[in-house]
């Protein structure tokens, strides 16, 4: 894939798929936009009603297809608009990380972050941070693996 050293001077730009909860992180991302905060355009946002509604299969599909990172955004613990969805998301995230670690994936490609509706800056920072760490990791090897 494209990388700094393939002789064609392409810069590796990671693809990030983000599942953001409607009430906190998605609104936080909106705030980042309306506040004109700058953050990289590497992230493709999908709005979910709750981080607890993010089925692990939604995270696995882009990872297997070759996305470089998946971000799950939810309300801070205690703030879930459905009371406990984010606590459940946290357990699923822990299980998924273990499974990815065990199966030869790099679990550092999946991120879970609590970002509230008022934290536009935190959302912009999260995306910045994720992009720079994914650039360190390099492209997802699954982007080359077709026999999956």
């Amino acid at each position: 894939m494209m990388s700094d050293d393939d002789g064609r001077n392409h810069r590796f730009e990671p693809h990030i798929v983000a599942f953001l909860c409607n009430w906190c992180t998605y609104t936080g991302a909106d705030l980042a936009g309306t506040s004109r905060l700058q953050y990289p355009s590497n992230v493709r946002i999908i709005r979910m009603m709750c981080s607890g509604a993010v089925d692990p299969v939604y995270v696995l599909k882009p990872l297997i297809e070759g996305a470089d990172g998946v971000l799950i955004g939810g309300c801070h613990p205690g703030d879930c608009h459905y009371q406990t969805g984010n606590y459940k998301a946290r357990r699923r995230y822990v299980a998924l990380r273990e499974i990815l670690k065990a199966t030869g994936f790099d679990e550092r490609r999946i991120w879970l972050r609590w970002v509230s509706a008022s934290e536009g800056q935190r959302f912009a920072d999260t995306v910045n941070e994720m992009v720079s760490e994914l650039k360190e990791l390099g492209p997802n090897p699954m982007a080359e693996k077709w026999a999956v």
Binding site: V94, I99, A102, T103
Partner: protein, 377 residues
């Protein structure tokens, strides 16, 4: 806890077990009994029995396991068990049943769990292929078990059994001992509920626990032998998953028949996503996918299917190995699930199949756990 001994005449353990089951049914301790019945040619088929005369062909001791019977008990109990039911199960079947209870697919009310020590089961196809007179003899099988050993084949012992470290049923109401006790002389039975002893018309064992020290040593010996095999096999599987090609190459031969899912006692969903049209893509979609990576596996989404199944049930995997037995492509599905399951279960400090009151890791949560996650800056 109370022990009793079923007398065995002429070393005929099977006749003694049948007599015991008959006594349980006829005494009214249970109103129906779930147990495999012989159908000829050295095979038995699981059945729900209400007529004690049918128990003349009962045989829960065949050293093969075509199916994990926890599923059948799920069908027989559902939300409410219609009449007091006794179920004769191996330890891995009891563990699977307990997971199904937590998944609200079975219940244990009015169910009496009759658990057998399981010295291990053999490859079904090899067992069936061997001539009847050369098959594993029950007396030899039990003699080895009394020493904390499993009779070596042929036929070959299933890999899941070679690495089974839970050959003794932990949750049984009635526990029939075969490991570390000479069942050919008499079958040691432990009853959890002393009332059952009286209801079933059994006499308490005098000078009880006489056999226990021997038994414990033999059980420990069997478990430690298997622990070694388990550690070796799971380490090899982990190395394979982290090698070049990884998990994708392990499933290269997968034909997406879903046999592993069908054979799995835990995978219960009536409408599995992977049995819907969700992954029947249009020709255009395949072409688009191919142009992304330069090529596209047909059928697609094979790894996604396996990874999703891992996600759904590794926390509950009881290592019965039915998935490996069911795989037409000989993919070591069970070893892979056990290897990953051990890691995921450890992350939650969870032991599947041990306690019906213990909540499933992905259903329960605590507010004050993994508090560092999500708050990073």
């Amino acid at each position: 806890m109370m022990d009793t001994v079923i007398p065995v005449e002429n070393r005929d353990v099977l006749a003694a077990v049948r007599g015991f089951l008959r006594q349980i049914l006829e005494s009214g301790l249970v109103e129906s009994l779930f147990v495999p019945l012989e159908v000829g040619d050295g095979m038995a088929v699981p059945a729900l029995v209400t007529d004690a005369n049918r128990l003349a062909l009962a045989n829960p001791l065949l050293p093969v396991m075509p199916i994990n019977n926890a599923r059948a008990v799920s069908a027989l109990t559902g939300k409410r068990t219609p009449a007091r039911l006794g179920v004769v199960l191996r330890p891995c079947e009891i563990r699977a049943l307990i997971e199904l209870v937590k998944l609200q697919q079975a219940n244990l009310e009015d169910v009496i769990l009759i658990g057998l020590d399981c010295p291990g089961t053999y490859d079904l196809a090899e067992y069936q292929a061997s001539p009847a007179d050369q098959r594993i003899q029950l007396s030899d099988y039990l003699a080895a078990a009394s020493q904390g050993e499993t009779l070596p084949g042929p036929p070959s012992l299933r890999l899941a059994c070679q690495m089974c470290v839970q050959p003794v049923p932990g949750q049984a109401d009635i526990h029939l001992h075969f490991i570390g006790v000479d069942a050919l002389q008499g079958i040691l039975v432990t009853l959890k509920d002393e009332g059952a002893l009286a209801a079933g018309g059994f006499a308490a064992l005098k000078g009880q626990n006489r056999l226990k020290p021997v038994e414990t040593t033999a059980v420990e010996k069997l478990i430690s032998t298997r622990r070694q095999v388990r550690d070796r096999e799971l380490a090899a599987m982990r190395a394979r998953m982290n090698a070049n090609g990884g998990i994708a190459s392990i499933f290269a031969a997968c034909i997406r028949c879903h046999n592993c899912m069908t054979a799995c006692p835990i995978c219960y969903c009536k409408t599995c996503l992977f049995r819907t049209a969700a992954f029947d893509h249009t020709p255009e979609a395949y072409l688009r996918a191919a142009s992304r990576k330069g090529a596209q596996r047909m059928l697609s989404d094979t790894l996604l299917f396996q990874m999703t199944r891992l996600n759904h049930m590794t926390t509950s995997c009881v290592s019965c190995g039915m998935c490996s037995a069911a795989c037409p492509s000989d993919i070591p599905v069970g070893t892979l699930f056990s290897a990953i399951g051990e890691q995921v279960q450890a992350a939650f400090g969870y032991k599947p199949g041990h306690d019906a009151a213990e909540p499933l890791p992905l259903v329960a949560f605590q507010a004050d756990e993994w508090t560092e996650i999500g708050e990073e800056r």
